[in-house]
């Protein structure tokens, strides 16, 4: 199974007494207490592991440290592989759910790398989203005051090449 942790991919293979992470093999043992509590032994070291799964992320807590892990979904791969430096269209999404405070651009407007596009507010914090490319605003899908989730495409920017 391929897993994603903070943008890094790991190939994981768990069998009865072996754990393979990428090309490294480790001895492995598992005891299941409940759906949320496991006892895992790797290379002879045992840890109590707490976990919860919302079908999108698995949240793991071990000794005070937290890990949020996703399964690599082949259908989303195109988007994640896209390198920001040479993509043709920038899809601006919020870094977290929030509400739109201000939109600073208009459709058809030319923007530079670093141009402020809109201001988002979440949890009493305002943040400005910027364009990472030089281009033209082709679509604005939100209005000020609108509540948006992290998946929402806010603005599309089409790359404009330097002549």
């Amino acid at each position: 199974m391929e897993l994603n942790y903070k943008g890094k991919r790991f190939a994981i293979d768990v069998s009865n007494n072996e754990l393979k992470i990428d090309s490294h093999n480790h001895s492995f043992a598992l005891e299941e207490y409940t759906e949320n509590i496991l006892k895992i032994t790797i290379d002879g070291k045992q840890k109590a592991v707490f976990l919860a799964n919302d079908n999108k992320n698995v949240y793991v807590f071990i000794d005070g440290e937290q890990f949020t892990i996703q399964k690599v979904d082949e259908s989303l791969e195109v988007e994640t592989i896209n390198d920001t430096t040479n993509k043709d269209i920038e899809i601006l999404k919020p870094p977290m759910p929030g509400s739109i405070v201000k939109i600073l651009v208009e459709t058809g407007q030319e923007v530079d790398e670093g141009t402020a596009i809109l201001v988002l507010e979440a949890m009493k914090m305002e943040m400005t989203l910027y364009s990472s490319i030089k281009g033209i605003i082709t679509e604005i899908n939100v209005v000020p005051g609108e509540q948006v989730d992290a998946e929402k495409t806010l603005v599309l920017i089409k790359r404009k090449e330097n002549n």
């Binding site: 496991l38 790797i42 000794d63 949890m123």
Partner: protein, 500 residues
Amino acid sequence: MIKKVLVANRSEIACRIIKACRELGIRSVAIYSDIDRNALHTLLADEAVHIGESPPLKSYLNMEAIIEAAKKTKCDAIHPGYGFLSERAEFNQMVRDAGLIFIGSSPESMHLLGSKVQSRQIMINSGVPIIPGMKSASKEIEEFRKVANELGFPVLVKASDGGGGKGMRVVRSQDELEDAVNSAMRESISAFKSDAIYLEKFIESPRHVEFQVAADNYGNAVYLFERECSIQRRHQKIIEETPSVALTQELRKRMGETAVRAIQAVGYTNLGTVEFLLDRNGNFYFLEVNARVQVEHPITELTTGVDLVKLQILIASGERLPFKQEDLKQNGHAIECRIYAEDAENNFLPSSGKILYLREPTGPGIRFDSGIYPGSEVPIFYDPILAKLIVWGRDREEARLRMINALKNTVILGTKTSIGFMIKVLEHPEWISGNTYTNFIEKHFGAGYSASEELLKYALAAASISFGKVRKTATIAKTKEEIPSPWSTLGNWEIALGKH
């Protein structure tokens, strides 16, 4: 005595106030916004009133609706908690005009404290030390030279109308001064359309030390000692402790008495906090008065044995302070860690979501003030505080070790939290040595923080087991592989061609 309190707040502090009411035999009324319909405070109170839509302006900041709810449910008092309307003099006045008790100081004292210029002058007149500097803005470089020389370097050039660090320059010597003044002025003009700049003494890596004070309506006032709150990120405290390692008994007494003088100067009553900056030479400077219960009030409760929220309600009911200064003692050491829904690995960016799993820490000397339960939502609309973990120990080291252990046993899943980061702070040699200054996180964790590589192996194994269960397809695939192909079970054989 107050009989019924409307709690004009949410999350952990609303729950804390409801508990105090219950112990005093007072009925409590919660208010809730759309998204907080099933929040913990809504469930905990004796009654709950829906107050409006989720955005704060339509709910927890909606003054008319809150007062209306208090009247409708026949409350005789409103407790504002912290944040939201707690320090809004206008709301305070409206509550009183409606014939209700506002659990807090008078609107007049809040007005005085709200104005920086006015409160600064009042403090000077009452002999409360403030950061020395120019009395007003200037454009004359000679004036800057003169004041800088009097104060001694380093000094801070500041935009009068500024904020957020804009138009601010630290100047370490005479020959840097002119450039700094000119560039601060340019920045101030472009950012705030104002050329008003001034200069004050720059306090190098100070500590944030605040004093809890309480005053009744009869002129009695005491201080309940200090809290050191130097561990901050984005200018917001995350770990607080008491006592502060930086205070001697003599300095503690002097600062405490100054704090009492500061609140008496503005006619302040009920519970309040006087904030100071403390430099490395034991000089302290008044910052501001927080006219409300503080987030970090529990560490004072654990070391003095005084229930501060009950005290607020008693004072507001017209009772006298139940103790004198000489009755108050500090016992042991207490630490608080604020557990926010935030991503310590990504600049402490707030996080939201749903609490999928919760295991609260327990044990001797451990207190968990919480606003969440398994299944509760962490909305995007409000301050992302989930809970506060507070521990008491006989001394600082016992409290520290107890806190680390308790953090490791505080399991919150479904949103990111700063638990792992706070463990790292408490394990840092400079924290252990008591070298806690307001730039601590910037200085020691400026390069960021990352969860341990070693534990990642366990996390990946656990995640793959968990995903393996929900994805039925994976199970089917495995089963298929395990069914042996008939071709491999037939043994050695040959296709008999032409043997007939």
